[in-house]
Symmetry: C2
Subunit: 265 residues, 2 copies
């Protein structure tokens, strides 16, 4: 097996990121940790989120990964300014997501949707305004989106009603670029686009991290897998129920994954 890239999330939402990366870099191996036993991170304090994050980064380092990716937006907010962790390249989703949003927005009016922790941190707003002081940013907490996504309630009247309540004024202001600042939110893309307008440009963590990883390879800061190699995907979670096993298979389809492995942190 190639030396893998480590990636973590509070739960399985980050598999939307893993899938995007595995499809873009089929030669790379990935080791994913989903901290299901302690999810969601989105309503926890920064101190607690950091403590859990450090435990997982340490775990991934012991698994001999060559780089570390924090797929979880809530966790990214507490590692925002750290480019390395114990000598390994460390990527978070906030910076790349912000750069992608600015690149795709014509009028620099951007909305960011996230968990309570992500929005409370103001990390996206600060990053976007640092990158472009003229940017106009609306940050909106959407705390029910994670449980709705975990219940598989996409393309659902109730989810649409929740989305309309969270997003009506973003639609009214005709904001055309919206950052999905949580790995679960791509699962509710249909409802979010319906509550906004179908032409809204959605920025997803998986795509922006794939782009970021490309740049690390191109800049020689990270060595790609040797040519012709076939990557492996290992998924480790801190709790295991049938529900999560099924959800993981759905999220990763059509990619094949081995059995989920339960770990204790």
């Amino acid at each position: 097996m190639n030396q893998p890239i480590g990636i973590f999330d509070s739960g399985l939402g980050g598999l939307t990121v893993l899938k995007a990366l595995a499809q873009k870099f089929p030669g790379e191996s990935f080791c994913y940790v989903g901290d299901i036993a302690r999810l969601p991170y989105g309503n926890k304090s920064p101190e607690t989120i950091r403590k859990y994050g450090v435990q997982i980064l340490d775990y991934l380092k012991r698994e001999n990964v060559k780089a570390l990716i924090i797929a979880c937006n809530s966790a990214s907010t507490v590692f925002l300014n750290e480019k390395h962790y114990q000598g390994l390249p460390l990527l978070n989703v906030i910076g790349p997501g912000s750069r992608a949003a600015l690149a795709k927005s014509a009028d620099k009016r951007i909305a960011v949707l996230g968990t309570s922790a992500t929005i409370r941190s103001g990390a996206y707003g600060k990053t976007l305004r640092q990158l472009d002081p003229s940017a106009m940013v609306i940050e909106r907490a959407c705390p029910l989106f994670v449980p709705l996504a975990e219940e598989g309630m996409s393309a659902d009247d109730i989810t649409l009603a929740v989305a309309r309540r969270y997003l009506q004024d973003i639609k009214d202001q005709a904001i055309a670029t919206v950052v999905l600042g949580c790995t679960h939110y791509p699962l509710l893309k249909a409802d979010i686009l319906k509550a906004l307008t179908p032409t809204t440009q959605l920025i997803e963590s998986g795509e922006v991290l794939a782009e970021e990883l490309s740049q690390l390879f191109a800049a020689g800061e990270l060595r790609p897998a040797s040519p012709g190699s076939v990557g492996e995907l290992r998924i480790k979670i801190t709790d295991l129920t049938d529900h999560f096993e099924r959800l993981a298979l759905q999220l990763m389809h059509p990619l094949s994954i081995g059995p989920l492995e339960r770990i204790v942190l």
Copy 2:
């Protein structure tokens, strides 16, 4: 301070139980632990729930409590048959809730609402049928109720739509006795009654545990606080955010509580 009674829940929902007990037994002191850093328990495996539960029971024992109450229904399912923990009386909510439901139901047709973990365990159904083999029991997982309650979305159109989806067939079958098998659910009582019928008899954990505690005192199995004493309420949580501090004050109103104390387990 009197020797307190220990009580724990996965989060702050159990404060509905603490409040009922503190109002019924104003001379008793209570030490409450809410495991906010790791909530919700309702979608975790029995092994993980038990591990967390044991950590909290051990903590409460070190706090010199005279009895232990598991307010959390999900945690109660994994301690269902244990009447003592390291020599201390141990109460869970499933047995008392089942007895109360049977006592109040004329036709022995009972619905139980709970988290995925509580319903998956089948603990209420088994207990009810052991107590009365003629009982007809419907168990229904309502996984979105906890996040809706935590978001303060009671008496809300979205919550009512969710309640109608979960409860329509219980209403159609005219089931008159419904166990609120999660400490958060009393917070959504208005919506639940509207989705059912206003005359539905709801069984709440707080009331049934108050009755259970009365019986322990009456049977001499637990010594009550000395006459004339004034109880104290201590609330300890494993994570602390402003949101939870406000929620705790709301839930305990009009009772006064000291500042929330953060503990590490």
